[in-house]
C-alpha cells in the first residue's frame, strides 16, 4: 500500500475523500442518485468526472443507476455506485444479477437510520443486508468497513482491486459519521493495475462473441455455476480477511466494533484503562469475510467480549457464531441515528467484568 508521509495531509470530508480516492483509483464511470448522508460523494463526482472526460450520470432513480453500472461493468469499465440505506435496498436486485454475472463494481453505502425511510443520522443497521444478502440467490459480496477517513481512502482502492481480482461487486460499508466528518488525508492515492480481463464485452468483431449472464435455465448448468461461485467465495474467505486490534496483549475485556462504533470504543477503552480495566478492541475491517478464526483464537483468553454497534444487534450474531460460547458475549447498541457514548460502553464493560468475576461465567449471554 502506497503510504508516504512527505505530502502534507489535507482535511477532507469522508464522502469527498472516498469520491476522490475512486477517481484516483481509475474509476471510469460513476452512476448515482442523490441521498443524504452520501450526497457530497455524488456532487464531487458530478464536478470531477466530466473534468477528466469520464462518465458521470445522475440517473432517474437508484434502479437506473445500478443497472447502468451493470451495463458499464460488462464492458470492462471500472465502475462506482454510491447511495445510502434505502437506495441500496432498491439496488438489491441488480447486485444479485452482477454477482451472478460475475461483474466487478464498487458500491459505497453511507448508512443512515432505518427501517424504511428512517432518518439521515448515522447508523450501522444495514450489516445484515450487506453481509448476508441484498438480493436473492446464493452469493456473497466482500464488505469493507472503514473506521477513519484515511482508512476509507485506502479501502476504496482496495475495493476496486478486489472487485477485479475476483470479478465481484465489493461493498464499502460506511455510516453517516464516516461520510460527513472531515479528517486529515495524505493525498497520495493508489491505482490498482489493470489486468487484461478477457471476458468484457467490447464488440465481437474478429473474435467469437462473449456472453455475460446470470440466467442458466438447466439446473445442472446453474449448479455448476453456483459451485464455481462458491469456490471463489472460499478463496476470498481464505485470503481477504482483514481486522485490526488495539491493546489486545493483556486485555481481559475486548470490544468488538467496526466503523464509527470502533471509534467510540477507542475512547471507551482509554477511559476503562484509566479506571483499571484491561480493555482492548478487535475491529473487523472485512465484515464479509468476517474474521471468525482470529476472533475465535483470541476469545478463550478473554473474560468477556462486548459488541458495540449502531444497531439493535447484527454483527453480534457473527461474533457469537465465531466464539461458539467459549466466551460470554455482551451487547450494547443504539439505533435510529443515536450514537453510543463512550460512557455507555464503559458501563457495559464494567457490567461484563462484574457478571463474569463471580461464578457467573457459565453460559452468560446477556443483552
Amino acid at each position: 500500500m502506497t503510504v508516504e508521509t512527505t505530502a502534507r495531509p489535507v482535511l477532507m470530508k469522508g464522502n469527498e475523500a472516498m469520491a476522490e480516492a475512486a477517481i484516483q483509483a481509475g474509476c471510469d464511470a460513476y452512476f448515482g442518485y442523490p441521498i443524504t448522508p452520501q450526497a457530497e460523494l455524488l456532487e464531487w463526482m458530478a464536478r470531477r468526472m466530466p473534468e477528466l472526460g469520464r462518465a458521470f450520470v445522475q440517473a432517474e432513480s437508484e434502479l437506473g443507476a445500478i443497472n447502468m453500472a451493470l451495463g458499464a461493468a460488462a464492458t470492462g469499465a471500472r465502475v462506482l455506485v454510491s447511495s445510502s440505506s434505502p437506495g441500496i435496498s432498491l439496488m438489491a436486485e441488480a447486485m444479485s444479477y452482477m454477482a451472478g454475472s460475475e461483474l466487478p463494481m464498487v458500491l459505497i453505502n453511507v448508512m443512515r437510520g432505518g427501517p424504511g425511510l428512517g432518518s439521515i443520522a448515522p447508523s450501522q443497521s444495514d450489516y445484515f443486508q450487506a453481509t448476508k444478502g441484498h438480493g436473492h440467490g446464493d452469493y456473497r459480496v466482500p464488505v469493507l468497513a472503514p473506521s477513519s477517513i484515511a482508512e476509507a481512502v485506502d479501502l476504496v482502492a482496495e475495493a476496486f482491486a478486489m472487485a477485479e481480482r475476483y470479478r465481484t461487486p465489493v461493498m464499502i460499508l460506511a455510516d453517516g459519521v464516516m461520510g460527513q466528518a472531515m479528517e486529515p488525508v495524505v493525498p497520495i492515492y493508489r491505482m490498482p493495475p489493470r489486468e487484461p480481463a478477457g471476458w468484457e464485452l467490447t464488440g465481437a468483431d474478429g473474435r467469437p462473441p462473449r456472453i455475460l449472464r446470470s440466467l442458466h435455465l438447466q439446473p445442472e448448468d446453474l449448479e455448476a455455476h453456483n459451485q464455481k461461485l462458491q469456490a471463489k467465495y472460499a478463496v476470498i474467505s481464505e485470503r481477504e480477511v482483514r481486522w485490526a486490534g488495539e491493546r489486545l496483549e493483556d486485555a481481559e475485556i475486548v470490544v468488538v466494533a467496526y466503523g464509527t462504533a470502533a471509534r467510540v470504543a477507542r475512547t471507551a477503552i482509554e477511559r476503562a484503562r484509566e479506571a483499571g480495566l484491561r480493555a482492548g478492541i478487535f475491529r473487523p475491517i472485512t465484515l464479509w469475510p468476517f474474521p471468525s478464526r482470529d476472533l475465535a483464537a483470541l476469545a478463550p483468553r478473554l473474560r468477556a467480549i462486548v459488541v458495540v454497534e449502531l444497531s439493535a444487534g447484527q454483527m453480534v450474531e457473527d461474533v457469537r457464531l465465531a466464539v461458539e460460547g467459549r466466551t460470554p458475549v455482551f451487547f450494547h447498541g443504539r439505533t435510529g441515528g443515536m450514537v453510543p457514548t463512550p460512557a455507555e460502553v464503559v458501563a457495559v464493560m464494567e457490567r461484563a467484568r462484574d457478571a463474569t468475576s463471580a461464578a457467573a461465567s457459565d453460559t452468560a449471554v446477556l443483552r
Binding site: 502534507r8 489535507v10 439521515i120 466528518a181 472531515m182 486529515p184
Partner: protein, 192 residues
C-alpha cells in the same frame, strides 16, 4: 493532549466554517483532528453545530459526550450544549445575542459581543471568526498564527478580498478575551 470544542449557533453564522478553520489550523500543525457537523434537516436560521477534536494521538469518537470548550452563538445552542461542558470547561458566549446567564457555575465563562465585533471587522457574517479568536485567546488548542494561515488558505483562493476582514475579525476576538490568569492555559493542562 486532546481538546474537543463544540460550535453552536444559527445556520448562516459560519459555525461550520469556524470549526473548519480550527481543524485546518490543526492540520497545519501536523496534529490529529476530526470535524463533525450536525447534518440533520438544517436550514438557514435553524440551529447548527459542529464538533472539532484536536489531539496528539489518534482520535476516538468524532461525536463527544463531554466538551472541553463550547462556543455558543445563539440562545438555543447555549441551552443545548452547556450541559456537555467538562468541569472548568470554557464557554464562549455571544453576548450580542444571548441575554440568558449560563446555569453552570463550575465553568470558565467568557462573554464576547461577537456580532458587534464582526460588524466592526466589516461583516456581520464573521461572527464565528470573532468567537474563534476568543476561544484561541483562552485555550492554546492551536497557535494564532496557524489560524491566520488557515484563514488565508481556506478563504484566500476563492475570495482574496475577504481574507483581511477575516483576519481582522479573528484579531478582535483574540483581543476581546484577554486571559484572566497570567498566562494562556495550555490545553495539555486542561483536560486530557
Amino acid at each position: 493532549m486532546q481538546h474537543a470544542t463544540i460550535f453552536g449557533g444559527f445556520g448562516g453564522q459560519g459555525l461550520l466554517f469556524a470549526g473548519h478553520v480550527l481543524a485546518h489550523a490543526a492540520v497545519i500543525e501536523g496534529r490529529e483532528v476530526s470535524w463533525m457537523p450536525s447534518y440533520g434537516p438544517e436550514m438557514r436560521g435553524g440551529t447548527a453545530s459542529c464538533t472539532v477534536i484536536v489531539a496528539d494521538r489518534p482520535i476516538g469518537s468524532p461525536i463527544v459526550d463531554t466538551a472541553d470548550s463550547v462556543v455558543a452563538l445563539n440562545p438555543p445552542s447555549l441551552a443545548k450544549f452547556e450541559a456537555l461542558l467538562a468541569t472548568d470547561g470554557l464557554l464562549i458566549l455571544n453576548a450580542s445575542l444571548i441575554e440568558a446567564e449560563p446555569r453552570r457555575s463550575d465553568i470558565e465563562l467568557v462573554a464576547v459581543p461577537c456580532t458587534a465585533l464582526a460588524r466592526e471587522a466589516g461583516d456581520d457574517r464573521l461572527v464565528s471568526v470573532v468567537a474563534l479568536g476568543a476561544l484561541i485567546a483562552r485555550r492554546a488548542i492551536v497557535s494564532p498564527d496557524s489560524v491566520r494561515q488557515a484563514l488565508a488558505e481556506i478563504v484566500g483562493p476563492a475570495r482574496p478580498a475577504l481574507v483581511a476582514a477575516d483576519l481582522a475579525a479573528f484579531s478582535l476576538g483574540l483581543e476581546a478575551a484577554p486571559v484572566a490568569s497570567p498566562k494562556v492555559v495550555p490545553v495539555a493542562d486542561a483536560r486530557t
